[in-house]
Amino acid sequence: MSNHKINVTVNGEVEVVEVPANMTLLRMLREKLALTGTKNGCSAGECGACTVILNGEPVNSCMVLAVECDGASVMTIEGLSKDGQLHALQQAVIDQGAVQCGFCTPGVLMSAYALLQRNAKPTDEEIREALVGNLCRCTGYNRIVEAVKQAADQPETVAA
């Protein structure tokens, strides 16, 4: 398997990473950069646990090859809070009790973040549409919808 050196901006930091041609973005984040906040639930684009933001769009990072990210900008759950300040979405997930086992949570937060970036005041229907690719087996989703609504009503960051 041939290796490729790529330049990728992850959470604002430029990283130079050597990756095999068949390595997914998910594996690169977890294994090369030790960013284990992004979870692997299926490796098949079915569960959404590995959702990250790639050039502004939410993607299943298990379905993207790392080599495709040469020159790209990636944001993961580790990049959501800035300078010790939780993002409004993170605080809302805590406030609304929208986290249980937490394994889907990073992916849910990434999808929700992408939604709020393009639509600051989403309706319930739009929230459901944006999160339809993120499976959660614990919460039943209602708390998650409430959390996104809370965050949409607030400034972008709140004190941690």
Partner: protein, 745 residues
């Protein structure tokens, strides 16, 4: 109270929303090697030989494990009936694979990719055996026997007899009788099974893994590895969901064996394994499907006088927790009713299907489906409102259980049913009519004439704690540090945080019992080297049991503190009310420590053209005794209800001749955010359980018990058709409506 009853943020929430929370699959240790297992991928065969030479010679391969490497090649929750690695060895019949997820070999290599390649190079010679995948076929005299040492595919018989059944049916004015099939269900926890094994600083073999009960994992590991229990260590970090599916061993023994084998060869390297989604679905247990015949009778006055139930539980290839699941189903197949004359027979049956085991509700949802369909049909046959019929039969304080013993104190199913009924539009008429709901049955959707609406109701009790004479207990460690004042509290406990919020509940209860701020309570969690046995996080037991242990232990610890002990270090064990096993002749017993109660109503819309059933609204009343953290209580109820919506109308685990046709999340569908009801009304009641700490009842499973039956009743009210098999996927509904021919897989 200062801390109990407050919706404080979860103690693990910050870690989880920032991605810092660590799960076993996230962990790495220096120099770790990777393991990949060879699954049988065939349902029934004898392993004649395993040739590992090609795999071993692949560069990067460190070791290949087979049956010959396992000191005692057997494990299991109650009975050691499953080989760790199937293949020729000293243990009779351990050379057989009995389901597609059985493990035959494992490779340890420098990388996961190399391990995967090497697995493909292992040459296994199989002699295929006839496959039996149907419970009735499995009981025929000429059926292939999965476990020749057992001698038959029937490995358990559970029964209950009380009263005079023949006399009961003689008194009955109406009798309803039907055959039912309940489906398998896949847990689909988001985190697949994972393990990281190493030799720890004290020379123990340790595994950081996913699970529900460290002590039970350790016991089975020690047995299979031929080690004393104190030479084995089990650690759970955060676990990504469980729902019963992690009650049994998955990767623990094999990954530990890998680290041990390397260690014996002078290679001191940790070994890590993570199952793929397909491996998880093929290998771990499922909810038991039941095939049932039920016959119940009632008088015209609405008194249920006789109930007869016969059940076959498909246990799959190995026992797992089947026998207790089935026993629990026996109890639940009669519901929380006073029925004077009953007879239940239930059989555990081996098949070449994926093993069945614990799944939230533990046999309850299956039994309840039977009981509640029967009650709803009796109401229909009597022309009586289903709430009214229940009110004439539900148990109350001082009632006897169908097993003959009095109910544990604090019976509230009547209060719960009343609250659900009121919340769902029922009224109590004082003119002799009793409970009734005027509207909502079989209405046509105003806007879409091909859609019909309906409402249905069901109720249930759920045991709290292990049942039927199991020696239940729960031990915690409590440590108090400080000088004049207590400055810091350490709680040592074995309650696995699988998502339900047990760490938060423990912190709140400890703060309350010791009257100290939550911030000063530190937990040392789920590590057999650091904590005593708290029992399993299952059977809705942990908050109830560990709460009592903390409450009782806190009094002892505080007394020592007042006696000037510094620091105070105690362990305390809570011993609950002793239950009894079924009588060998009648099956009668005092089965349970306590119960939680729920009644649920479902409103559905049925599309008569597509067969799609949409659950639009759920009204769920649950008596939780005392909500330690009201927000988390509601969240857990909602999550369990959505799993139940999946069980009722969506989740279809399909096996054919022992092969799984739904081995991923695009073929096995669980509810997405687009599949949830528009509205869930959760009615949380707090009527204290006299045996529970601060009045707490168990909560973890009760919401999962009865929704499928409420949905089936709702679909009947919408369409006039009783569905005795589910899930109510469009295909099955269309067949029921006479619009499709053939059988639904």
């Amino acid at each position: 109270m200062k801390y109990i009853g407050k919706s404080v943020p979860r103690v693990d929430a910050l870690e989880k929303v920032t991605g810092r929370a660590v799960y076993a699959s996230d962990m790495t240790l220096p120099g770790q090697a990777y393991m990949k297992m060879l699954l049988a991928h065939r349902p029934h065969a004898i392993v004649k030989s395993v040739d590992t030479s090609a795999a071993e010679s692949l560069p990067g391969v460190i070791a290949v494990l087979t049956s010959k490497d396992v000191p005692a090649n057997e494990f299991g929750y109650y009975t050691y009936d499953q080989p760790v690695l199937c293949g020729p060895c000293a243990k009779p019949y351990a050379d057989r694979v009995r389901y597609v997820g059985d493990r035959v070999a494992a490779v340890v290599a420098e990388t996961e990719e190399t391990a995967r390649q090497a697995v493909d190079l292992i040459a296994v010679e199989y002699e295929d055996l006839p496959v039996v995948s149907d419970v009735e076929e499995a009981l025929k005299p000429d059926a292939p026997v999965l476990h020749p040492d057992v001698g038959s595919n029937q490995f358990g018989h559970h029964f209950l007899e009380n009263g005079d059944l023949a006399e009961g049916f003689r008194q009955a004015d109406v009798i309803v009788e039907a055959d039912y099939n309940t489906p398998a269900q896949e847990h689909a926890y988001l985190q697949t099974e994972a393990g990281l094994a190493y030799i720890d600083e004290d020379g123990r073999v340790a595994v950081i893994t996913t699970g529900q009960w460290i002590a039970k994992d350790r016991k089975q590991m020690a047995h299979a590895l031929g080690l004393p229990e104190d030479r084995v260590r089990v650690i759970y970090p955060m676990t990504g969901g469980a729902f019963g599916g992690r009650e049994d061993i998955s990767v623990q023994i094999i990954v530990a064996l890998g680290a041990l084998k390397l260690h014996e060869r002078g290679i001191h390297r940790p070994v890590k394994v993570v199952w793929t989604r397909e491996e998880s679905i093929l290998a771990h247990c499922k909810r038991h499907p039941f095939r049932v015949h039920a016959r119940w009778g009632a008088t015209r006055a609405g008194k249920i006088v006789a109930a007869e139930v016969k059940m076959l539980a498909d246990g799959g290839a190995y026992k797992f927790t089947t026998s207790i699941v089935t026993s629990n189903s026996v109890l639940n197949s009669l519901g929380p009713y006073e029925i004077p004359n009953v007879r239940v027979d239930a059989y555990d049956v081996y098949t070449n299907n994926v093993p069945r085991g614990a799944f939230r509700g533990f046999g309850g949802p299956q039994g309840v489906y039977i009981a509640e369909q029967q009650v709803n049909k009796l109401a229909d046959a009597l022309g009586m409102d289903p709430i009214e019929l229940r009110m004439r039969n539900l148990a109350g304080e001082g009632s006897l259980q169908t097993t003959g013993a009095p109910y544990p104190p604090g019976v509230t199913i009547r209060e719960v049913t009343e609250q659900c009924a009121l919340g769902a539009g029922w009224e109590l008429f004082r003119d002799g009519t009793g409970w009734n709901r005027k509207a909502g049955y079989g209405e046509t959707d105003q806007a879409q004439s091909h859609k019909r609406r309906g409402i249905g109701v069901a109720c249930a009790h759920k045991n709290v704690g292990f049942s039927f004479g199991y020696p239940e207990s729960c031990t915690v460690g409590i440590e108090l540090y400080g000088g004049r004042e207590i400055e810091r509290v350490v709680i040592r406990h074995g309650a696995s945080e699988v998502g339900m919020g047990t760490h938060t509940a423990i912190t709140q209860m400890a703060a309350e019992a010791l009257d100290i701020p939550m911030e000063q309570v530190e937990l040392i969690s789920s590590d057999t080297a650091e904590v005593e046995d708290a029992g399993s996080v299952s059977a809705s037991r942990m908050t109830f049991f560990i709460g009592n242990a903390i409450k009782e232990g806190a009094e002892i610890a505080l007394q020592k503190w007042r006696d000037e002990d510094r620091p105070v270090k105690i362990t305390h064990t809570y011993w609950p009310h002793k239950t009894t096993p079924p009588d060998p002749v009648t099956g009668q017993c005092d089965p349970n420590v306590a119960y939680a109660y729920t009644t649920q109503a479902a409103e559905v819309v049925v599309d008569l053209e597509t067969g799609l059933v949409e659950v639009e609204k759920i009204i769920c009343a649950i008596d939780v005794g005392k909500a330690i953290n009201p927000q988390q209580v509601v969240g857990q109820i909602e999550g369990g209800l959505i799993q139940s919506v999946g069980y009722a109308v969506l989740e279809n685990f399909v096996e054919k001749d022992g092969r799984v046709l739904t081995a991923n999340l695009s073929t096995y569908l669980v509810p997405t955010i687009a599949d949830i009801p528009e509205k869930i009304d959760t009615i949380v009641m707090e009527i204290p359980d006299p045996r529970g700490p601060w009045g707490v009842r168990g909560l973890g499973e009760v919401m999962n018990m009865c929704l499928a039956a409420a949905v089936a009743a709702a679909v009947h009210s919408a369409t006039g058709v009783w569905f005795d098999d589910f899930p109510l996927i469009p295909e099955r509904v269309l067949r029921g409506l006479g619009k499709l021919n053939g059988r639904t897989p």
